[in-house]
Symmetry: D2
Subunit: 347 residues, 4 copies
Amino acid sequence: MIVMKQDATEEEIQAVIERVEGAGARAHRINGEELTVIGALGDREHVQKLELEGSPGVEKLLPIQKPYKLASSQIRHGEPSVLEIGGRKIGGDNFALIAGPCTVESREQTLGTAATVAAAGVTLFRGGAYKPRTSPYAFHGLGQEGLRLLAEAKRETGLPIVTELMDVRDLEPVLEVADVIQIGARNMQNYTLLTELGRAGRPVLLKRGLSATLEELLNASEYILKEGNEAVMLCERGIRTFETAYRFTLDLTAVPVLKELTHLPIIVDPSHAAGRRDLVQPLSLAAAAVGADGIIVEVHPNPDEAICDGPQQLVAAEFAAYAEKVAQAAAVAGKTISTLAAEATAA
Amino acid sequence: MIVMKQDATEEEIQAVIERVEGAGARAHRINGEELTVIGALGDREHVQKLELEGSPGVEKLLPIQKPYKLASSQIRHGEPSVLEIGGRKIGGDNFALIAGPCTVESREQTLGTAATVAAAGVTLFRGGAYKPRTSPYAFHGLGQEGLRLLAEAKRETGLPIVTELMDVRDLEPVLEVADVIQIGARNMQNYTLLTELGRAGRPVLLKRGLSATLEELLNASEYILKEGNEAVMLCERGIRTFETAYRFTLDLTAVPVLKELTHLPIIVDPSHAAGRRDLVQPLSLAAAAVGADGIIVEVHPNPDEAICDGPQQLVAAEFAAYAEKVAQAAAVAGKTISTLAAEATAA
Amino acid sequence: MIVMKQDATEEEIQAVIERVEGAGARAHRINGEELTVIGALGDREHVQKLELEGSPGVEKLLPIQKPYKLASSQIRHGEPSVLEIGGRKIGGDNFALIAGPCTVESREQTLGTAATVAAAGVTLFRGGAYKPRTSPYAFHGLGQEGLRLLAEAKRETGLPIVTELMDVRDLEPVLEVADVIQIGARNMQNYTLLTELGRAGRPVLLKRGLSATLEELLNASEYILKEGNEAVMLCERGIRTFETAYRFTLDLTAVPVLKELTHLPIIVDPSHAAGRRDLVQPLSLAAAAVGADGIIVEVHPNPDEAICDGPQQLVAAEFAAYAEKVAQAAAVAGKTISTLAAEATAA
Amino acid sequence: MIVMKQDATEEEIQAVIERVEGAGARAHRINGEELTVIGALGDREHVQKLELEGSPGVEKLLPIQKPYKLASSQIRHGEPSVLEIGGRKIGGDNFALIAGPCTVESREQTLGTAATVAAAGVTLFRGGAYKPRTSPYAFHGLGQEGLRLLAEAKRETGLPIVTELMDVRDLEPVLEVADVIQIGARNMQNYTLLTELGRAGRPVLLKRGLSATLEELLNASEYILKEGNEAVMLCERGIRTFETAYRFTLDLTAVPVLKELTHLPIIVDPSHAAGRRDLVQPLSLAAAAVGADGIIVEVHPNPDEAICDGPQQLVAAEFAAYAEKVAQAAAVAGKTISTLAAEATAA
């Protein structure tokens, strides 16, 4: 929709109509009492390339079609996608509880945490081998040694692994251990990375950038989907607002809104949003109650000694009680925590 | 804490120390390797009046004490306030379900909605007689006629009434019907109105401004509390962020953070935050699960015909099922919807 | 413009068309390849009252007409308003330099500052007698005694006075001394106050709320204009963003955008935005260069001893040099500082 | 500074002191009347690794030292860096006017624009060969063919070239033509890219992320500086706020604040912030008046036919008049546009 200025001349209106039709679209003119509106109907891509904003006589453009296709809920007629990762379903009525340490620090910490969360019935195990850090002077992860420890945790517990990739040059070693590759908020619009993941075909957990709109998040997922990789989960992890009383503002409104816009499963990360352990449980319950398809949280045997993000990691000894409360909140929204046992029972 | 610049001279440091001590506070100097920090210890009000920011040699001020006293959780040693309104408790384990039409439009609509929500077991009945509207050309409420209809609804259902006050000149008629006086987001810092409500002594539901920090919200409540009115509830109703995919961003992180900072009950308004009916239920469940002390929602017998905010009002016929789900989510957070019947049973 | 969902049924489309026509507007249907759009053409107010958002089959509404009329630049065919206050013009090529203390503290401070800024050739003198403060424990101004000192400053210098009104009950004494009544950011949507000012007929300086959109600011001005008071200036004073390295984000993009949307003069307040004296001059030069119709700044003979906002007040002894730089920056944008002398010369 | 809770026990206080001292820092305890504060004095990195937030008894941490070193203005004792690029100075009193097309589209467009801006006396020529785009379906630049056209423009005009790098795998061809490598806002925290640029040693123009704080921007520059590359310019290009009346909010307050925090030159990009041609000139004048060390703008011979970002590109035929106004505004801030001729004259 192209809204012309009240004082647009007939010449200016005609010029716009000609440019619309020159781009292969149909122009539909509406003469209002105060102003004229021109509808440009046609192929999404052609109309998008018509950059009419700021042209003579043009007041503003009102986009009607969404710029993404494969991520849209329309492509599946409103039916949600259900991913299957290592035999665990995610999406629909299947709630993913994803837990593990922020960073892989040592064999003992990694295997101990994995055993604890496996016993509590989580869906996937998470752990960072490569860590993006705001300061160049901070700890950046154990790298390949961290990946080896994650592989060992997988052998011991059978839990599929979620781990972050930051540099396209690390893709091969990450593919050897990761069942799900996480893309962090800072890399949400790192298009070369997204394209490579689309080609790699491994499931992706794509985190929303700190100030990314939902449309930008969906556009970013489209970079992966259009390479043929349909296994994408989106992750809300807090947005940046004016409030300084806590770290980020967890945007739970985004969950039902995204579920209307897209068929992809929506995961919530309360740990990074809050940055404080005492907020993780209430926000986890809220995320489950609002209808998220899963949550991803950080757990550590002794958070006070964690190398990074200690203050936000749940205490491993308290994890089972926490998981039980999350299951209750998910039940209010009609969902069940997905585990291999749950699948077996269902079958 | 006053942080001096790295290149602050000894004279500048002494000048700051003198100003601190001149204000009746004790100055505590810490010489670091790179810079000097001066702690100003003393009466909160005196130290606040020392406006040292920008003084020569001063890098920045780091406030340590909170600027509010009576709203602080410390004043009650961490014990939450439990208000009692028309025999219904709010706070602690008592969850307030507050419902009713956005605006009082007619006798039939008001009494019909009141009967519906009373039957579903709500705590309080809400309805607007005076409506703040962004545009001067919009409908601004029935005024005193609206108040009369609310009084009738109260007689018929026994439900206590929540209604908004905008103009201090309307205080008297509002006091005749309101059990709780609501202050809208636009008036959160209308200090003359807050002071009058403090004096009036009637319970107040104070809504957070669209871009008010939690500290500003608590400071605003302090205007009411310091006049001797202790019955204040705070209300999160969505904040303004960059996201345009929905109306406001409901800040549910604010709930557990506020509950740590203050003893006052925290209510959530999902209707105004979302602006869309289909988002109200998921956000209500999330608000209950996150630990709010209540929610306030809008209900209409036929929202499509509502004079204002139709799109966000719940349909009266579906309200009982909605209330049942809210009760389940509140239970996950350890709370029970407060009604007169509940009180009677407990007694 | 009403955009229907892709899967909207013909019945839903007809229902929307009927509601549009039932409201007295004309419905104009456009059948696109993927979806249907309905244009509702007719009286602004009637169409606004059609709250179709959320109705069955409706994807979204795209408003085309602006909700304000009298503030719109269209009403004056793009010609800017030029106000005349005490013989000084504001608007068009006339740049208003408005200066004075944050708060009227004493006779000496007020008259001394007034003499200094008068000598430097300012347009208007500002000073606060009633001060809104975030904390109830802070200093709230001298009140009527402050007004008397402002009246004395006016007699001595001949400068018209700008002072803030917070409470409608103080309107009469303020009208006795104020040539321009300032409405602070916290009261931008205090509609009862705006309406009374519209009736009072005195020029108004309306500050933008911390998170008010430009459309909301224009709507707020419409409350004054529609009562017949055409002498309104709008004031950008910093908005609230995520950045914490300074107090508020001065939104200078708002200036040229507002000048396209409205005929009203646009003033910028760099003092409150920055909160730090060293930022006031660069921001003042930027405001003048971007095309503002004036700036309002705070000046104090000895800011370190100011009762409030000392850190942001310019030092009186440096004001003349500052005013000279501002005049240069205004000249780049084609404007001249407006004084009585300038008027006399022009005549 | 570690602020303990009012009800922190002596044991909790001692535990914090032990952890501070265990990290090799000195703990300095201050017993206030209401609460206890512990200063942790010592090496920046060790103290940073003490993640005490959320530890028992800890209310909050107040960081005093800045996390970046090499970008800090202290490292040069307040003296600004002056870069020299192809004989043109940038920084100090030298203002960089950087202009050219958004995207290199064709030989004629590129060479024509280069000739126009060279004639108007710009400092550097900009042009995009690799373009990050929100949608995967948009045009992504000519790539290596674009680099060849930029090299030709450089040979013809002698102007140094600024062009964007997105993918570390394109570094070598970009190094062959670029005098300055631009890192876009989406890649501000792409740490692998920043580190490679630090090693490459070529001057870098680092754009601020849409919601990056100034501290995060400086931390990002530190990734480049710490590899030994000192030639970094920072670029403000608009931040994301709640306002929807224009594309981004140009944060001009950031300019004087950054100039106090860092010695690096600060450039402003008004084209991407505004997204509309009519806003580019007022915002350019404001950027020059506020004290920026340069601006980077987009120019096109015929913006209506531009492949991307047409609406925001200046018209080449109007560029000389625009450059003249910018020079006037820069002069108000005491700066002169830097060209080879200016250098020669100065020598």
